[in-house]
């Protein structure tokens, strides 16, 4: 009998402690569940996203008047009495099923106010469906398959421009190249870049990107001679590369995650590929790991991106945040980290405007916020979500840039901006120097 009482007593104690902790959560912190690929093939991008998001959280929770950002003015969220934002990070490993499970866990067990993530479009698709089902708001900072905002969801908002915009940028760039708009390059006759070959990884993101390339090539009058899909987890891509080279392409276009992007470039080098242009649809082509592993082998390669440290030359806030990030990570802010940063920043604005954690209030706030471009590290005109039309929840003020890896005077490989042409920070290297 005594033992039973003892056991019951312990149980009660545990329960009390547990409830107290939960209660404490609810009082002065607002929890956001963040689902990123922290291990697996895209782990390096995931870690970048995480560090970017953490930096934004630190700024939002602290007071840094020297930064010209609403989020830096006061500590915490003013409209909720200075409550702090707390991010709970989860790792989806690039697996949509795992992502959906984690979302459920975050919603049901951790009682998060909202979700942020998830990089892989396939995972974002699964997670956004879960959020829609539970009526929990989700902001997507880093997935670019156009499909995601075309599902008519009411609880999904996307800050980043999608691949439709980025693919159009590519073809505008090619068009501009033939019109002589590119800095430091004479007009390149269109026939010289007529034949294209593309390889995209075959999950949601890559296959949508592949379809867009097909559509836009037709629209702009280019000949996409080969458009193949491959598995991002491939250990060997030599037959894929040979298949691309078989059509003798002028430009080679890729949509790859990290490990496959590195393997792709290595294989291109081993096969002595010499197209006039190589372009990557961001992701793997724009990670620190890609740069550090391949070194000078990437000089001349183009990638679409939303951030380059070179942006600082035209934007002060980008330099300021980049300095803070450098202190934290040891290297420059990148595409992924700047998007993670912007994701949390958007959450801050939404919560500040909502003034409560009720889903309906958050929904109303998300549909009406407008973050001016001056406060963003990325080169967008701002953040404002579409509330009607074909793509509800899509940021309508986003835009992309195309960067090219070039060697600077100190011998480092940096990403110079080459498109939009008016933002160019260096002369375009054309044609691709080859190996």
């Amino acid at each position: 009998m005594k033992r039973l009482f003892l056991a019951l007593g312990f149980l009660a104690l545990f329960l009390a402690l547990f409830l107290m902790e939960k209660g404490a959560y609810a009082q002065d912190e607002i929890t956001i569940g963040v689902i990123y690929p922290l291990t697996g093939g895209a782990a390096s991008a995931g870690r970048e996203l995480q560090m970017g998001a953490e930096l934004a959280m630190e700024i939002a929770n602290g007071k840094m008047p020297e930064l010209a950002m609403d989020m830096a003015k006061e500590a915490g969220i003013k409209s909720m009495g200075g409550k702090k934002i707390k991010l709970i990070f989860k790792d989806h490993e690039g697996n949509p099923t795992l992502g959906a499970d984690l979302a459920k866990k975050l919603i049901l067990d951790d009682k998060v106010v909202g979700i942020l993530g998830c990089y892989h479009s396939s995972v974002t698709k699964a997670v956004s469906a879960v959020c829609e089902q539970y009526g929990v708001p989700m902001i997507n900072d880093s997935s670019t398959s156009p499909v995601l905002t075309r599902q008519g969801y009411k609880w999904f908002w996307r800050t980043t421009p999608h691949d439709g915009t980025f693919t159009m940028d590519l073809f505008e760039f090619l068009k501009g190249l033939s019109e002589g708009k590119a800095k430091g390059v004479k007009p390149v006759p269109k026939e010289e870049l007529m034949n294209l070959a593309a390889a995209c990884e075959k999950t949601e993101w890559g296959s949508a990107a592949s379809q867009l390339l097909e559509d836009y090539a037709k629209k702009y009058g280019y000949n996409l001679k080969r458009n193949l899909l491959y598995t991002a987890k491939s250990a060997d891509l030599s037959s894929e590369v040979r298949s691309l080279l078989a059509v003798n392409p002028d430009a080679m276009l890729f949509a790859s995650y990290t490990s496959d992007a590195i393997l792709m470039v290595k294989t291109l080098k081993a096969q002595k590929a010499k197209p006039k242009l190589i372009w990557g649809q961001n992701a793997g082509f724009d990670t620190p790991e890609f740069r550090s592993t391949l070194g000078e082998d990437i000089v001349g390669i183009l990638t679409r991106t939303v951030f380059s440290p070179k942006l600082g030359e035209v934007k002060t806030i980008s330099t300021q945040i980049n300095e803070l990030y450098k202190k934290k990570a040891g290297y420059d802010l990148s595409d992924a980290s700047s998007r993670g940063f912007t994701g949390v920043q958007t959450w801050f604005h939404v919560l500040e405007k909502a003034g409560s954690t009720k889903p309906e209030d958050i929904q109303r706030a998300a549909n009406s916020i407008e973050i001016p471009g001056e406060q963003l590290v990325v080169p967008w005109k701002g953040i404002k979500f579409a509330t009607s039309g074909e793509e509800p929840g899509q940021n309508i003020m986003g835009s992309g840039i195309i960067g090219q890896y070039q060697k600077n005077k100190e011998g480092q490989v940096v990403l110079e901006i080459v498109y939009p042409f008016e933002l160019s920070t260096a002369n375009l290297i054309y044609p691709f120097p080859g190996y």
């Binding site: 093939g41 001679k225 193949l228 987890k233 060997d236 037959s239 040979r242």
Partner: protein, 306 residues
Amino acid sequence: MASEVLLQAIVAGLLFGMVLSVVALGLTIIFGVMDIVNFAHGEFLMIGMYTGLLVSQYTGADPLFALPVAAVIGGLLGYLCYWLFVRLLLRGPMLAQLLGTFGLMLFLRNLALLLFGSEDRSIQKGILVGKSVVIFGSCVVPSTKLGAAVLAVLAFLGTYLFIEKTKIGKALQATAINPHAARFMGISTDRMNALAWVIGGAGVTVAGGLLVNFWAVNPYVGLLFTMLAFTIVALGGFGSVPGAFFAGLIVGIITEFPGIWDAISLWTGWNWMYKVPMISFKYTWVYLAYFLIMLITPKGLFGWKR
């Protein structure tokens, strides 16, 4: 252009096939000697790949110098597997042997997952890594693949000569043909079985050491190669050593079928052929071949064991 593409595909297929035949060698020897199908074969390969990777990473030596280490580890692993595990399985019914090696596969794979994590890892530095040579005028071949293929042929030849020319090799063959009769002749079949596992294990880990020069490794890498090795062994004839070599070459060329398709489409100039996503079904042709072999000639091309 069409002929260049065709040449590239065939050369690439043959080189890959040479490495594949060493992958399949161990499987066919073990089956030949003791009628056991080793499902964990691909996992042995994975261990060979990690050995190559880790030895070169920690000692800074070229991954090719890791081959002897891989051979020793593979041989030891084969021996231990036989002595501690398979020998006991032999007492049970056929099903026990199947499930036993299957369990071994799961165990090794998850052990690797625990030790090395699920991330892809590949070799970045080495004498051959990142270089390529041009042969036959226009055919670009990565040095890693050429080197691996040459060493694979040497390893294969060595094993073949050992089995054909030495006394121990003959004893091994005798055990394979008729264990009872072999025992009457004073051959310790138990030791011969163990030897088969040692050769099998060492062969496949050496193949792993060769493969890791151009193929990223993760704990799941074994599955694909187990499947490829099964196809090779079925095609070459279960238990046939020369069969494994030629079947390896054939399977290597089958994996390059998309390249051959490209060559044909360039040659004919038919537009629809460009649009067929052959590359997405790279390994499908291998499995289709396996299916057809089983249907038409279950004994394989060089089959000698019933």
